[in-house]
């Protein structure tokens, strides 16, 4: 219990000096409300015997995001992000108070998925944004429908897989000498996932397409651990990747830039090359907050925010952030292990995979571990939809841990 309290205090304190440094901006009030909301949420979770280590890890990441974005500015953008932060906090509390038992959410299994797919569909006629038109303009703010989609998909997958896992595991079909999983039971899953993938590919939102595929295959494997299910997921992925490379010039460019960003560092390779230069400039301890030039990297507030972290806080900063992500993921999967009902078990896994796969895809793209596909960095990047949905996911995970009393059962 002491560890949980100390953890949350350290986490919210990370962002503490930032409003003071940027004097003259009404940020301190936001920070006070956010910090109080997080500490109270942690108190609620600990008193109700939930996981005491889940919220501190995420709060630490969110505080790092506030520091980095606060340093990058401009004030107008930080103000909007702070408003979103409080909306996110509202969702976290909403999930904590209303989403118990979590199985209650399963009533809207297909409604949620259909609504989220519909929102994504709306971006075809109405989408805003340069290049990939991924946003919906609601007058006073934009939303990015792919963010609610990933949450809806996690809920749908958990409900469907919890109901069918035994069929998926045991039903087999013989094809000559081969024993294949019976594909009949995979069809509804394939349809929802396929539709989402198709939409995202048509949108050229490659990062989100990769995320949906990763989460779908990962959770199928978690529910019914047959190696064939992994292969079943990897084959379409490989076909899509090869097809994308041959037919889509954007994919081709991404691969070439990934293989050698220095072939054209002023043009196509500019973003990746600048990111590598910035990370190198950061070294072990960073240049110091406010002393680097992360603003030279395109999209440094959103997809490439990790680069700003690496330049000014150095390897220590990025390693710390990765450590916090790993703790967060470990808590999700542990929650999945300890949950007693099938739905709760799989919901913890699908939500954890959503956070984990997204973090992996964008961080690996940033540091040239794999071709870059755009996604936000959970809890750190600028972006209202992303922040709100990630806080909702966090709220659901916390509610699950309270329902399953995992804190009491581990005795920490």
């Amino acid at each position: 219990m002491a560890a949980g309290l100390l953890g949350i205090l350290a986490a919210v304190a990370i962002a503490f000096p930032w409003p003071a440094v940027r004097a003259g901006e009404p940020l301190s009030a936001f920070w006070v409300v956010w910090a109080a909301g997080m500490v109270l949420a942690q108190g609620f979770v600990v008193l109700k015997k939930g996981d005491p280590l889940l919220l501190p890890a995420a709060a630490g990441l969110s505080a790092l995001g506030q520091v980095v974005l606060g340093r990058l500015g401009p004030p107008g953008l930080i103000f909007r992000q702070s408003v979103w932060l409080l909306v996110g906090l509202g969702f976290l509390w909403g999930a904590l108070l209303l989403a118990r038992p979590a199985a209650r959410l399963d009533r809207w299994r297909y409604t949620l998925a259909a609504a989220a797919l519909g929102l994504v569909l709306l971006t075809f006629p109405l989408g805003a944004g340069a290049g990939a038109r991924l946003w919906l303009d609601l007058g006073f703010f934009f939303i990015q429908p792919v963010e609610p989609l990933k949450l809806a998909l996690a809920l749908t997958l958990a409900g469907y897989l919890a109901e069918r896992r035994e069929l998926l595991y045991y039903a087999r079909r013989r094809l000559g000498p081969l024993v294949l999983p019976a594909t009949t039971y995979l069809i509804p899953l394939g349809v929802v996932t396929g539709l989402a993938l198709l939409l995202l590919f048509a949108q050229r939102d490659l990062g989100s397409a990769l995320l949906v595929l990763g989460v779908a295959v990962g959770s199928l494997y978690a529910a019914a651990p047959r190696p064939a299910h992994l292969i079943l997921g990897l084959v379409p992925a490989a076909v899509a990747a090869a097809g994308g490379y041959l037919l889509n010039p954007v994919v081709q460019e991404r691969v070439h830039v990934w293989l050698d960003p220095w072939a054209d560092p002023e043009g196509r390779g500019f973003q990746v090359a600048q990111a590598l230069i910035a990370l190198a400039a950061g070294g072990a301890g960073g240049t110091g907050l406010g002393l680097g030039r992360p603003d030279l990297v395109p999209a440094v507030r959103t997809d490439f925010v990790f680069v700003a972290l690496g330049e000014e806080l150095g390897f220590l900063g990025t390693a710390g952030a990765v450590g916090l992500y790993l703790v967060l993921l470990a808590r999700c999967f542990r929650l999945g292990l300890l949950a007693r009902s099938e739905y709760n078990r799989l919901l913890a896994v699908t939500l954890g995979l959503t956070l984990g796969v997204q973090t992996f895809i964008i961080l690996a793209g940033t540091v040239r571990l794999m071709p870059l596909t755009g996604l936000t960095v959970p809890f750190i990047s600028y972006g209202g939809s992303s922040l709100v949905v990630n806080y909702a996911i966090l709220g659901l995970l916390a509610a699950l841990s309270v329902e399953e009393e995992t804190g009491q059962r581990c005795g920490c």
Partner: protein, 142 residues
């Protein structure tokens, strides 16, 4: 931003990030130690909390072999002679540094802390493990 202020800011942010990580990892370590118990074999026992109509006494304990069956029948490793317990009710086994319990299609179900099991689940030290009406508690010797 003066270099001096930037240095202090970095120290504050990085210092707190690593304090936080330290607290979290220490929590995970303590929890793992607690759950793992003393050695590789789980030296556990099952203590009767609510005997129902089994004729057992509260506090009576069954030492657990690495794998044990629980049921009303005398042939089980742990015999709970209560009408709400099925003849062959559940299986308790030690795997991956944890105790697991699997319900063997019993009539009245197996419960961890009041929640009916749908598939094999991890039982942690101190958990209330109920077979039908008979409530027990898992204890691991430290």
């Amino acid at each position: 931003m003066s270099p001096e202020l930037a240095w202090w800011l970095n120290l504050w942010v990085l210092g707190l990030v690593y304090i936080l990580l330290g607290v979290l990892l220490r929590g995970i370590y303590a929890e793992t130690r607690r759950l793992a118990g003393p050695g590789e074999t789980g030296r556990g026992r099952l203590v009767v909390v609510e005997p129902a109509e089994s004729g057992l006494l509260p506090g009576e304990a069954f030492p657990l072999p690495p794998e044990a069956t629980v049921g009303r029948d005398r042939s089980n490793d742990i015999c709970l002679p209560d009408p709400s317990v099925s003849l062959r009710h559940a299986r308790l086994y030690y795997r991956g540094w944890s105790w697991w319990v699997e319900d063997l299609n019993s009539t009245n179900g197996t419960f961890i802390n009041g929640r009916r099991l749908e598939r094999p689940g991890v039982v942690l030290p101190g958990d209330r493990l109920a077979f039908g009406q008979v409530v027990t508690r898992l204890e691991v010797k430290g």
